[in-house]
Each structure stands twice: as structure tokens, then as C-alpha cells.
């Protein structure tokens, strides 16, 4: 979801970054189980990675902020399982299965789990890329209520196409079950001043990975 609590770029007041020396991969065993359940259910193909993200982004803002990372993942997973009818509220309440499961297209195997492969998101293009490296572009100033990957701090800003990354699954449609609708993906770079105003550090530049519908000729 756009304009939601997950959109943190440029927000003040969260305090210092606190790195943890010798940090373990998981701080509690249940965190590893959440990761595993998330990945295992992901392969069934009932939702996309963007649908998964959207389920975290639409958590109530206070819950989102109060939750740890894997708590958020757990809450998002539980919501998706309920929304897709894979488990019932009564089963969650009972802590056990009360009826046979639905038939899934795919079930994660031990071999799959060894490889831990990421998805592949590049798709054939149906039209040539509209923009070329070096082109100036302005990002759109849209505020959709559904999932998008154009962060608010970079909306309506003037940037430059730095690279073309291929044609990729479009998160804005994939997240809401409307299909891949592949779009050209660009690295668009902005000066710090364009994003943050005259007080910005003049030595900084920020890039985002922007899908073609997020961009227009200036």
C-alpha cells in the first residue's frame, strides 16, 4: 500500500542505527520457522512476492511499528493464509487443523530448500523501452491506494535514467492479482537537492529502481 507506515525514506525521529556485533542469523528459533513457513507457502504460487509485501504494508500502522521484523512476517503470512482460505479462523484459534487442506499446485521440497533460490522477474518486452540512458525524466506524483514501489520521497522529482535493467514483472498489478504486466525497469538517479531541498548534502545522490509507468518525460 502506498503512503503507508512502511514508506520510511526521509522520515525523522527513529534515532540512531544500532549495529549488533556478531549478530546471529536468527535471534529466536521461531524466527527461522517464520522464514521457513513464509518460503514454503510462497512456492504454492497463490500470491506473488508483491502480494506478500502488500500484506505487511497494510498491517495497522501501530502494529507495524511495534512488531519486530519476523513478527510482521508472521502477521502478514497469517493474513494471507486466511484471505486465501488455506486455514480458517477456527483453526488458528484451535491451534490445529480441523479439516483437510486444499490441494496446492506445488509443495516445497528439501532439495528446493537447499538451494534457496530467488525468483526470476525478468519477462519478454512487448514494446521497446521509452527512455534511454541519460534521458531526463520526472517521476509521477501518484498516490494509489494499492501496492506500488515508487516511494513518496521520490514522487514528482526530476531525475536521470542511469541504466535500463530489462523488462520486469510490474509490482503494482502483480500485488493485487492482476497479472505480471511486464514493464521496463530503470535506475533513475536524483541529486540530494532535488529530493531534499537546498539544505541537502551536495555530495549525495540517490537512485531508485523505477518501472516505466512511474516515469514521464519532463
Amino acid at each position: 500500500m502506498t503512503n503507508s507506515i512502511h514508506d520510511m525514506g526521509g522520515t525523522h525521529g527513529f534515532g540512531p542505527v544500532v549495529p549488533e556485533p556478531n549478530e546471529p542469523v536468527f535471534h529466536e528459533p521461531w524466527e527461522g520457522r517464520v522464514l521457513a513457513l513464509q518460503r514454503a507457502m510462497g512456492v504454492a504460487g497463490l500470491w506473488t512476492i508483491d502480494g506478500g509485501r502488500a500484506s505487511l504494508e497494510t498491517l495497522p500502522p501501530l502494529t507495524y511499528l511495534a512488531a519486530s521484523y519476523y513478527q510482521r512476517w508472521f502477521l502478514g503470512l497469517e493474513r494471507r493464509l486466511l484471505a486465501h482460505g488455506l486455514v480458517g479462523e477456527d483453526e488458528i484459534a484451535a491451534g490445529r487443523s480441523l479439516r483437510p487442506g486444499r490441494r496446492l499446485n506445488r509443495k516445497l521440497t528439501v532439495e528446493d530448500a537447499k538451494a534457496m533460490r530467488g525468483g526470476h522477474f525478468e519477462r519478454p518486452a512487448s514494446a521497446p523501452a521509452k527512455f534511454a540512458v541519460g534521458d531526463p525524466v520526472r517521476t509521477r506524483n501518484n498516490h494509489p491506494k494499492t501496492h506500488t514501489r515508487l516511494p513518496p520521497y521520490a514522487r514528482g522529482k526530476l531525475g536521470t535514467i542511469e541504466a535500463i535493467r530489462g523488462c520486469h514483472v510490474y509490482p503494482d498489478t502483480a500485488a493485487i492479482g492482476e497479472g505480471d504486466h511486464p514493464q521496463w525497469l530503470y535506475t533513475v538517479v536524483f541529486t540530494g537537492r532535488e529530493l531534499w531541498g537546498d539544505d541537502a548534502d551536495p555530495t549525495t545522490k540517490v537512485s531508485i529502481e523505477a518501472f516505466e509507468p512511474y516515469l514521464s518525460a519532463p
Partner: protein
């Protein structure tokens, strides 16, 4: 099932977050009983995350790029292909990987302001700070102050380039090779490459920091 009966879902954020450990266990039980998940595959995911993937993979790639000019060129040109070259040990398939070279003029820093996108295949799972609100909020607006939280100070005229991971492309920073490492083997060079140096919140270690 030993879950407390007073537990309720979603009424306020306090109760939503209570007993997560028990609720995770209950959910795993439900999903296993329904035949959706194989507990052995779940165990394997945890094992893969804890032991197979991690910054040691990225460190080997960086060390090789430092030692082998042709490889560095291939890495910067197409990191997905270079990092997945057969014979790269247990490097796992990683789609859409992009390598970013730090130089005297430019320092690269990677963030995901929207969530936690991170190059798992070469660095493993992200640390808590990478997924935290302070890092996600500040990296794009005050990167020098974020670097200071990591004890890193760069020359005032170095350009800081922040990469917000807003798509499925994933970024690996190629840190600068420390001086005094001429003639080092790739294995020895890899000992200088920290996770943070490959995210851009750190620099590669100097030889004296590893007792060389």
C-alpha cells in the same frame, strides 16, 4: 495445544503481538497437518539460511574481483552472470544482481526504504539494523550521519551514492581494496571483506586489523 484461551486476534496491536512464539508453532502444526508443508523442508530452509548462505559468498566474489582484473570487469558488467559462474563454489543462483564499485570519488550505500530487499544469494539474510526504521528512514536523507553510526567517516568531497532497492534488482558493493595487500591470495584478501563493506556501511579491513 497449550495456547492460552484468552488469546485473541487483531483487536489491538498489543494482543496481535502477544505469544508469537506459540502462535508460530501452532501455525506450523496446522500447515503440516493440512499437508501444505513438509517439516523436513522447513528444517532445511533454516539450515540453509544459517549455514549455507552468508557474507562469505560475497567476500569471495569481492576478493576475486580485487585479484583478477578480467573477473572484476565481468562482475561490473553483469554481476548475475559473473557471480553464478560454474566453479564459484556454493554461490547460489541469484537473479538480477548488480555490483557497484567504490572508488576514491564515489562511495555506494545500499538500502531498502520500503522493506528489506537485500542480496540474499551473496550476503545471506539481512541483519536487524538493515531492516530497522532508523536505517531505512535516514540512509536516503542523511547518509553521512548513518555512516557515522557505523564509525565510518569519508572525505567531505567523496560523492555518496545511495541505492534504494525498490525492485527485484539486488546490489552488492565492491569495496575499495585496502593498500598493503599487493600479492595477497584471494583467500587472504577475502578475510578483509566484511558484510558491512558489501552493503556500504563499512570499509574493507586494513591488513593490520586482521593481524596480517
Amino acid at each position: 495445544m497449550s495456547r492460552p484461551d484468552d488469546h485473541s486476534h487483531g483487536h489491538d496491536h498489543g494482543s496481535e503481538l502477544s505469544d508469537v512464539q506459540l502462535r508460530v508453532r501452532a501455525l506450523e502444526t496446522i500447515l503440516t497437518e493440512k499437508g501444505y508443508v513438509d517439516p523436513a523442508a522447513l528444517d532445511q530452509i533454516v539450515e540453509t539460511a544459517e549455514t549455507r548462505i552468508g557474507p562469505h559468498i560475497g567476500a569471495r566474489i569481492v576478493a576475486r574481483a580485487w585479484a583478477d582484473h578480467d573477473f572484476k570487469k565481468r562482475l561490473l558488467d553483469d554481476a548475475t552472470a559473473a557471480a553464478n559462474t560454474p566453479g564459484e563454489g556454493d554461490t547460489l543462483a541469484s537473479a538480477h544482481l548488480i555490483a557497484l564499485e567504490n572508488t576514491d570519488k564515489v562511495h555506494n550505500l545500499v538500502v531498502c526504504t520500503l522493506c528489506s530487499c537485500y542480496p540474499w544469494s551473496v550476503l545471506g539474510l539481512p541483519p536487524v539494523w538493515y531492516k530497522s526504521a532508523p536505517f531505512r528512514s535516514r540512509a536516503v536523507i542523511e547518509p553521512r550521519s548513518v555512516l557515522a553510526d557505523f564509525g565510518v567517516t569519508l572525505p567531505p568531497d567523496t560523492e555518496i551514492r545511495i541505492w534504494d532497492s525498490t525492485a527485484e534488482t539486488r546490489f552488492l558493493v565492491l569495496p575499495q581494496r585496502p593498500s598493503g595487500t599487493e600479492g595477497w591470495s584471494e583467500d587472504r584478501l577475502a578475510t578483509l571483506v566484511t558484510r558491512d563493506s558489501m552493503v556500504g556501511t563499512g570499509l574493507a579491513k586494513r591488513p593490520d586489523e586482521v593481524g596480517a
